[in-house]
């Protein structure tokens, strides 16, 4: 057996283990009775230990060294070796004591955070969050030494391989200069339009589910390799060939769950479209979180909040819920789904104001990891940032710097991928529509095959063959910049009707 085959076999077993973890995580969020939490945590911890053991086996280093000298390998195999070496380098970078300390600090901080958020009590969280931050800094430094990267970039690379703060700074500075003035303009245009009439419910969950399934099918979701279920926090998870999405239904407002399902379907189409021949290999994985988020936002923001899609989908909504009157007009639905409203909470933000939430978090976490700002100053810095980027006055930390679980749970370096994803989505959708004239008319009649066909060929089917930059350059002719996203926003939100 060649060294490459040994590696492929070994990482196939790792994938089999990761797939087990994926289904158990889904079960924890969707099915598990609450009395099983502790037992489940033990199973998950054990599987993570077993997985870490498999990924850090010393013989991987020997196999890699031999396989990298193998002149017979093709492009996919070489890219697979590159990905395996990256994963192996990162996973072997951390001393076990640091992993354990971080895991304990995160558990304690997450638990404290739930109370601190409810009480708007940043001071109570501070010692816990400080411990997490301190350990994240050490983790970033340890990984950074192995990867030749600054600490923040090393953390970022867990979610966005190849990403760098220098690159993000340029993109986000561009957006940050554009958004505040643009948002004011949008609000003025919006203020000149008549008020939206309410959609009168109730909207039974079963009907919402049926409509969601109908639209998932229109987008091309493969129900033989996935499911739609309910969870408190919607997500796309599961395993290879078993890509499950979730939502939660509000019987007083169907619009959020419906668009949420379309968002998760975008993630799921990426997962279902990864290359079958390398599905259980690192090179067959999704390219990174910004590309992943681009796939959900391309479906949600670019395709499904567009006039053509809503002209197709609004009658289906009206029929499903027996709606009538001007609120159920497709233009009214488009205005509802493109409404802009600066607010305090990221997860409730619209397409225009969302990046401001992200830019703020990115700048703060970068400064904190670099030790360029004391953690105790976070609330003040947060509130200043919200005032200058969004023009809102944050009344308390519950609606401010305590709202997200990412930092308490050790997810430092994740935030920027949301807005990188939004920009990537705009650039990809623009290129797709130029390359394939059938895409926009298809969306207008609920036929996503032309769009998904283009995405399969240019994104989904490529897995991790290319770097994020190369993937985007091959698909759109150039690396990511903010211009197409800005043009999209201007076109959608400033065009008077």
């Amino acid at each position: 057996m060649t060294a490459y085959s040994e590696l492929a076999g070994h990482f196939g077993r790792i994938a089999a283990l990761s797939n087990a973890v994926g289904i158990l995580q889904w079960d924890s969020d969707v099915m598990m009775p609450k009395g099983a939490a502790e037992t489940r945590a033990e199973s998950m911890a054990l599987l993570h230990v077993l997985r870490h053991g498999l990924v850090t086996e010393p013989r991987i280093g020997d196999w890699l060294a031999r396989a990298e000298d193998d002149a017979t390998l093709g492009a996919w195999e070489k890219a697979n070796l590159r990905e395996i070496r990256r994963i192996w380098t990162v996973e072997t970078a951390l001393p076990a004591a640091l992993v354990e300390a971080s895991s304990k600090a995160v558990s304690a901080c997450e638990m404290r955070w739930r109370q601190a958020r409810a009480d708007s009590d940043f001071a109570g969280l501070l010692p816990f969050l400080s411990e997490v931050l301190n350990l994240q800094r050490q983790i970033g430094q340890a990984k950074g030494e192995k990867l030749g990267l600054p600490a923040y970039d090393a953390l970022l690379n867990d979610y966005e391989p190849g990403g760098s703060a220098a690159r993000i700074d340029a993109l986000f500075d561009d957006l940050a200069a554009f958004l505040p003035g643009f948002t004011r303009e949008v609000m003025e245009v919006q203020a000149r339009r008549p008020a939206l009439e309410p959609l009168e419910g109730p909207f039974p969950a079963e009907t919402q589910r049926a409509l969601g399934l109908r639209l998932m099918a229109a987008l091309g979701y493969d129900f033989e390799r996935g499911r739609l279920d309910i969870s408190t926090h919607p997500f796309c998870g599961g395993a290879d060939n078993d890509v499950r999405i979730t939502t939660r239904y509000d019987e007083g407002d169907f619009t959020k769950a419906l668009m949420g399902v379309l968002h998760e379907t975008g993630h799921a189409l990426y997962e279902q479209g990864r290359p079958q021949a390398y599905l259980n290999q690192p090179v067959g994985a999704a390219r990174g979180m910004s590309v992943h988020e681009s796939q959900s936002l391309l479906m949600e923001m670019q395709a499904c909040r567009s006039r053509p899609f809503l002209a197709f989908a609004t009658p289906l909504m009206r029929d499903a819920f027996a709606g009538s009157g001007p609120a159920w007009d497709s233009e009214a639905m488009w205005r509802r789904y493109t409404r802009v409203e600066p607010g305090f909470i990221r997860v409730d933000a619209d397409e225009v104001t969302y990046p401001a939430h992200i830019i703020l978090r990115y700048r703060l976490e970068k400064a904190l990891i670099a030790d360029a700002m004391p953690l105790a100053e976070l609330p003040a810095a947060w509130n200043e940032g919200m005032a200058s980027l969004l023009g809102v006055a944050v009344p308390n930390d519950r609606l401010g710097c305590l709202q997200d679980i990412h930092w308490p749970s050790g997810g430092w370096g994740y935030f920027p991928t949301y807005s990188l994803g939004a920009m990537t989505a705009a650039q990809l959708f623009d290129a797709a529509c130029r390359a394939e004239p059938g895409i926009l008319p298809g969306i207008g009649r609920g036929d996503f095959a032309p769009l998904v066909g283009w995405l399969r060929a240019n994104i989904h089917g490529k897995g991790s063959l290319l770097s994020t930059d190369a993937l985007l350059t091959e698909a759109t002719g150039r690396p990511l910049d903010a211009s197409v996203f800005k043009a999209h926003l201007r076109r959608r939100y400033l065009e008077e009707v």
Copy 2:
């Protein structure tokens, strides 16, 4: 750390892995989309390999030797060592090549069996089943050498630790002498009663589910540590503190699913009642398959098909399905639920004729493992046995020796536990009612607390502390014999009303 603590920690990790397998198996049967089958099979195979690796680690032998010399251990710890040694002995008994050959033969035979059953084609299955049997014989011999047991007893011990063919022969010969004549008497009594009127449906699945949940609650099922779902083949599975049962609904007949739910609830109460302090240790496991089956049959056959329970439950059924007329009378429901009808299919058999199906299978599999009968003669021997034990003429092998998956899937030595369970259930229920006079009146008003309290104290909470024999002797005053079961059958089926 003492050798005992090392062992307990190690087997705690094995339990964490087994719990993961349990939930994934549940998911495969209840939730998994069909396109995920192959991916899931890879995950399951990997987890089984990892589990086998943990259970057969050589250091377990060293720990055992040292722990068995530890004079400070209490009864539970000593019993845990006994169970660990048994498991370790059995799992290390087989050469890897034999395990692999058996696994492959079983896969091939199971697949061939589905077609052979459909076609009633025993000749087509013969070479595949012959291979499985041959390997089972070798497995029985290899385990038997390590355990000091004959091959059949060694196979039986996987399901019924401490069980032996000599013991089962005595019990089953007693029953076999009793049942044919008794069954004829029952049929005569039954023939003198007026015919049962049909229950007019349909019976919506949602209503059946709600009623099932209501009765599960009455029996004492803990919904914080379990769920009720749907699967093609009903089962009780899941994990520690996460005991999930399933059923399947026929909208034309609610009676089967309802009693099936009560049967699985009996299994689940056992699992939920195992000792929390040893839940993840071998000594905390259920005692064996005959005791497990006794818990489902105690609930189903002894408690829930009784007149007192049906007097309580029939009005609930009537209300749920808006039934009316004499078919919904509780005496009619009791007659429906105690109807006897000799037939060809084991899983459709009633309480009286079920043991004949089991005795036949047991005698045949014992002869086959002992090479005392050529496999080619199985259909003829089967049909002869059905004629003499049940008085029915089997028309083809689909309704005969091809009906069960157990033999094709390598489950040799399992069948006797069904009827050992039925006898054990009768003996336990009889002892429980004598010891605790509140049990029968409780059942009559849907209050199972007195019964479950007795079972918790005498069976569930004992885990694998005692041998099956000792467990039953402590609970009922004597080891298992057929007399209480026969008395129960005479009382229930020959009493004229």
